[in-house]
Structure formats: structure tokens, C-alpha cells
């Protein structure tokens, strides 16, 4: 077994950005893994992505034709199993995405692969190494995969460098029998509600999270945002609790925002939240927990009670 196999991800006719990050990550460990880098794309429309995936450093693009129009976890599971059997890679990389969560761990479990999810760093030292968060990302665990002929890693999106264009890898169709394997039936795609405001257009977001403690405190922060000339956005727990509509949610499952200023009050910074705001120009975070992950991406931080700061901001802004 040798080489790296990257599994690209597409959705509704588009190649997802994480696919190119996976190629970028794979290049870093390609030599250790035996020198070959193959990128596979699975889908009814797999061939159409072959050209875009032939990035620098890619040796071959593999296309697997799937019988379902959209992603189907069980079909994709078999496709990946088939690819591992035919290509014999020593390392398989997928995005740590919602689609992958539906089939990658099942493949690793069934085939007895080395496995880690949501890796933020990968390397090679007599075999693959990976770093991932521990204890809610407050610590980082370095992992090895001894005794595993093949290791499957899902990589956190938005961390690894996008592979540059300019490769000339040939494409090859890999035939895997995927007929009759679907065990879910696609009904439809639904776009989440548009809502009253587009937070992705705002230049200044005042964002609130679990730290505001109570629904009754929402109006206060709406007023503070207005006084400050900011648009109010929220983290997931506020939407889960039904206190604000999902159109205001920043994060992986909400909106990705890139305002000039992102002022986070009482948001600890779960991975999924950081994915939606880490590229804001200036991030200011107020949280009582000095170990809160949000301080890892913030430019300015304050370990202080957010209500005390809100009091003072209200006064200062008149």
C-alpha cells in the first residue's frame, strides 16, 4: 500500500472548496506516503470536475460514476471502500464536512482503518501523524496510527492551503458497482429562511452567544447594536433556543461573514462558529473564560463579564 487518496466533495453541481484544501494538505505528506497523489470524485456528474481537480502535485484524477443524482451516504460508503480496495492508498483524506460525517467513520470502522476526524495538522513520521482538538479544542492531541495499513483522516475545512492550479494529471474512470445501494431517498433541498436582514453584508457585527444567559436580555443587545451602528448576529445556541431566527446565525451551518469588525460578546468559539467568522478584519472578543477558543482567533480580547461591559458601552455611546 502506498500513496495518498483524496476524496473531493461536490454539491449540486459545484466543487466544494475543501476539496482543493485536501489536495494542498496531501502535497505536504505525499513524499512520506510513497509519492503518489490521486484525487477521486464520486457522483453522477463526476467527470465534469476532473479538469478542476488536476491541480499541481496531483498525479491522477479518478472518477467514480454514482447512480444517485445527489450525495447518498451508503452509495458513497461503498464507493470509498471500492476505491481503497483498488488503489491501495496508505492515507485517505476527506473534508470534515456534513457529507463525510455520514459515511467516512463507517468505512473506517468496517475496514479497520486508522482513523481521526477534524484534523487540523497532518505530518509524516514513519507513518501518518495528525493533530486534532481535545477537551472541546482547549487542548491539542497528537495522534499516530500504529499497525494500520491504511489511515483515513477528515480534515477541518479552512485550515489547509488551497492547491494551486497548473497540474496536468490524467483522468481515469474507476468502475465500482453502486447499483441498488442507496438506503435513503432524497426528497428535496430547502434553503434556510432568508430572514429580515443579511448579516453577510454588514460591515460591523455585534454578535452574542450563550453568555447572554436569557431570552429577556435579547432586546438589550438589539438596542446596544443599534446605538453602536452594528448589526446583531448570534451563535448557534441562541438559534437553537429559539431566541433569534437562523438568518442571524454565524457559523458552519449558518452564515459565513467577513465584516470589518466582529465584536463577540459571550461566545466561547466552538469550531463551527469560528468557521463562519475567522476571516473578519478585526475580531474583538469578550468572555469570562480565559481559555475560550475565540481568543485564539480574536485580535483583541477581554476576560470580563459581558454585562458589565455592556453597561459601560451603553453609557459611553449615550
Amino acid at each position: 500500500m502506498s500513496g495518498v487518496l483524496v476524496i473531493a466533495e461536490t454539491r449540486r453541481g459545484e466543487l466544494r472548496e475543501v476539496s482543493l484544501e485536501l489536495i494542498g494538505a496531501a502535497r505536504e505528506v505525499k513524499d512520506g506516503a510513497g509519492g503518489r497523489l490521486a484525487v477521486a470524485v464520486i457522483g453522477a456528474d463526476a467527470e465534469q470536475f476532473a479538469g478542476d481537480l488536476a491541480r499541481e502535485g496531483v498525479d491522477e484524477v479518478l472518477t467514480v460514476s454514482a447512480p444517485t443524482e445527489h450525495f447518498e451516504a451508503h452509495v458513497w460508503q461503498r464507493a470509498l471502500e471500492g476505491l481503497i480496495e483498488s488503489e491501495q492508498p496508505v492515507l485517505v483524506l476527506l473534508g470534515h464536512t456534513i457529507d463525510s460525517l455520514g459515511f467516512a467513520p463507517a468505512v473506517a470502522a468496517r475496514a479497520g482503518l486508522g482513523f481521526a476526524s477534524d484534523a487540523v495538522k497532518i505530518g509524516w513520521s514513519e507513518g501518518p501523524r495528525a493533530c486534532r482538538g481535545a477537551y472541546g479544542d482547549k487542548l491539542q492531541a497528537e495522534l499516530e496510527f500504529p499497525g494500520k495499513a491504511c489511515t483515513l483522516l477528515t480534515l477541518r475545512p479552512g485550515i489547509f492551503p488551497v492547491a494551486t492550479e497548473g497540474g496536468s494529471a490524467p483522468a481515469r474512470a474507476v468502475s465500482i458497482d453502486l447499483e441498488g445501494l442507496a438506503r435513503t431517498e432524497h426528497v428535496e433541498f430547502v434553503e434556510a429562511g432568508a430572514g429580515d436582514v443579511d448579516i453577510t453584508k454588514a460591515e460591523f457585527l455585534l454578535s452574542i452567544g450563550r453568555g447572554i444567559e436569557d431570552k429577556d436580555n435579547i432586546p438589550r443587545f438589539e438596542e446596544l447594536a443599534e446605538k453602536f451602528g452594528a448589526t446583531l448576529s448570534v451563535s448557534r445556541p441562541i438559534v437553537d433556543a429559539g431566541w433569534m431566527p437562523s438568518a442571524r446565525q454565524v457559523g458552519q451551518s449558518g452564515k459565513t461573514v467577513k465584516p470589518r469588525v466582529y465584536l463577540a460578546l459571550g461566545i466561547s468559539g466552538a469550531v463551527q462558529h469560528l468557521a463562519g467568522m475567522r476571516t473578519a478584519d478585526t475580531i474583538i472578543a469578550v468572555n469570562t473564560d480565559p481559555e475560550a477558543p475565540i481568543f485564539g482567533v480574536a485580535h483583541y480580547g477581554a476576560v470580563v463579564d459581558l454585562f458589565a461591559v455592556a453597561d459601560e458601552l451603553e453609557q459611553a455611546l449615550g
Partner: protein, 265 residues
């Protein structure tokens, strides 16, 4: 209908914590245990399904892999309304990774043979997002990951679910039982247990089983592990944030100053 809910007693770090000297763990004095937040939603979904199902023999079974301390989590599930609980433990599971845990859970689910298995999407400590799907893999069960809405049709044993994709997109799909679903936060409003129910929870069946009783070889479960921990470390947070010190009023004044500066440029 019978529903198995797999839950986890998670470990949260205190604000100040210390690593063990060998770098492979945290000093347990600095760890607080609690029920995984995601699992409160999957339990609630199971209880609602059970309560709306007519007829006899409807049951919610909470299961976990963990040492004696994790019984608190099962008791909380029983207090909220689970009918019984099963805890799997063996010394071989100490520090087990996601695949080894899923392997142990699979043996319990196989024994219980439920119509539905519900798991949280992820746990707040390990955040692998993978236990449920690995479990479905071992059992060859159909599954949907990251479910934000669940409608059950008893006549056809079919669930119509919404799967939450990135960027606010939702996929609606159907899946027939037996099946496994991983449940996302916000799908429902988890109930609280009454004081009376918390007391009564200790009267409900809570079974402790070893790997051997489930027909599993502890060595094989350890071998199922997908990874081995080399070292735990405090992550490199890069340059990190410039910390604003002083009173709340001083912090607020600096925030106003920074915002005005950045917004005027």
C-alpha cells in the same frame, strides 16, 4: 417501538488545569463531568417518539460506554424518562478512541435490536462527530447524520428527516427503520427532570455489562481503535489576541476606540 439512545458523560476542563506529567492526559482533579449537550436532544427526540407511539412495549433504553462516574449521565436520562439503562465497561476501554467505543456500543445495540438508534451529532469534549456513523458502520445500519427535524410514520416504519448542510442548506430525505440518526442541537426543547423523578431514577433498571458478557474480546476492542495518543498539548494559538485589561469601563472605552478606528478607515 424500541429506541436506543447512546449517550456520553463528557469531560470539561476547569479554567485552570494541569496536564499529567507523561503528557497523555489531564489531571482528573481539574475535570468536571456532565451529560453531553447533544445527547439531551437525542434523548428528548426518543422520549417524544415513544410517547406518541400507541400500543404496548414502547421503550427508550439509554446506553453508554464509561466508568462508574458516567452512571450520573444514565441516571439523568432515567430521571427524564428513559425506561432503563445499560453501561458497558471494561478496563480495556480506558482512554478508548471513537472506533473502540463504537465497537462496544455496537454489541449492546445488536443485543437490544431496536427500531431506531439515536446519537448526538458529536460530544462537546472529543468532538469527533463520528461515533454514530461508526456504530452504524459496525451494525450495517442505514443512517443519516446531523438531523435537525424528525417525523416518524409508524405505519411504514419510515422517518422523514431534515439533514443540516453547510451554509444554511437543508436536505429532506426518507429512511426506513431499523436505522440510526445523529441528532443536532435545537431539534427540540429538552425537558428537565423533576426532583421526584430524579429520586425515582435510582429505582429504574441500570445494567452494567462487561465486554465478555457481550461476546467481545477486550483485545479485539482495543485493536479496533483507530489511533493512539502520542501527546496532549496546549495548542499554539499563534500571536493570540491583544488582551484589553482594566475595569469594565476601561475595556468598553477601548472597544469603542477600536471600533471607531476600524470603521472610519
Amino acid at each position: 417501538m424500541k429506541i436506543v439512545v447512546a449517550v456520553k458523560q463528557v469531560a470539561a476542563l476547569d479554567e485552570e488545569f494541569e496536564l499529567l506529567e507523561d503528557g497523555t492526559g489531564v489531571d482528573p482533579d481539574f475535570i468536571e463531568r456532565d451529560v453531553n449537550e447533544w445527547d439531551t436532544f437525542s434523548l428528548e427526540a426518543a422520549l417524544q417518539l415513544r410517547d406518541s407511539a400507541g400500543g404496548e412495549g414502547n421503550e427508550v433504553v439509554a446506553i453508554t460506554v464509561g466508568d462508574e462516574e458516567s452512571e450520573e449521565g444514565l441516571l439523568s436520562c432515567l430521571a427524564k424518562g428513559a425506561d432503563r439503562a445499560v453501561r458497558v465497561w471494561d478496563g480495556a476501554l480506558e482512554g478508548a478512541d471513537v472506533l473502540a467505543v463504537a465497537r462496544a456500543l455496537a454489541a449492546v445495540v445488536e443485543r437490544e435490536a431496536p427500531e431506531l438508534v439515536l446519537c448526538g451529532v458529536q460530544s462537546s469534549d472529543a468532538v469527533t462527530g463520528s461515533t454514530g456513523t461508526a456504530l452504524a458502520g459496525y451494525l450495517d445500519l442505514p443512517r443519516v447524520a446531523v438531523v435537525t427535524q424528525l417525523d416518524w410514520d409508524a405505519a411504514s416504519s419510515t422517518a422523514t428527516v431534515q439533514r443540516e448542510l453547510e451554509g444554511g442548506l437543508i436536505e429532506v430525505l426518507r429512511i426506513r427503520a431499523p436505522a440510526l440518526l445523529t441528532i443536532q442541537t435545537g431539534i427540540n426543547e429538552p425537558r428537565y427532570a423533576t426532583l421526584r423523578a430524579i429520586k425515582q431514577a435510582r429505582e429504574k433498571p441500570l445494567e452494567v455489562v462487561g465486554l465478555g458478557e457481550l461476546g467481545l474480546d477486550p483485545d479485539a476492542v482495543q485493536a479496533a481503535a483507530g489511533s493512539r495518543l502520542v501527546e496532549l498539548a496546549t495548542p499554539d494559538r499563534g500571536a493570540g489576541a491583544e488582551m484589553l485589561d482594566g475595569s469594565p469601563s476601561a475595556v468598553a472605552a477601548r472597544i469603542v476606540e477600536i471600533v471607531r478606528d476600524r470603521m472610519s478607515g
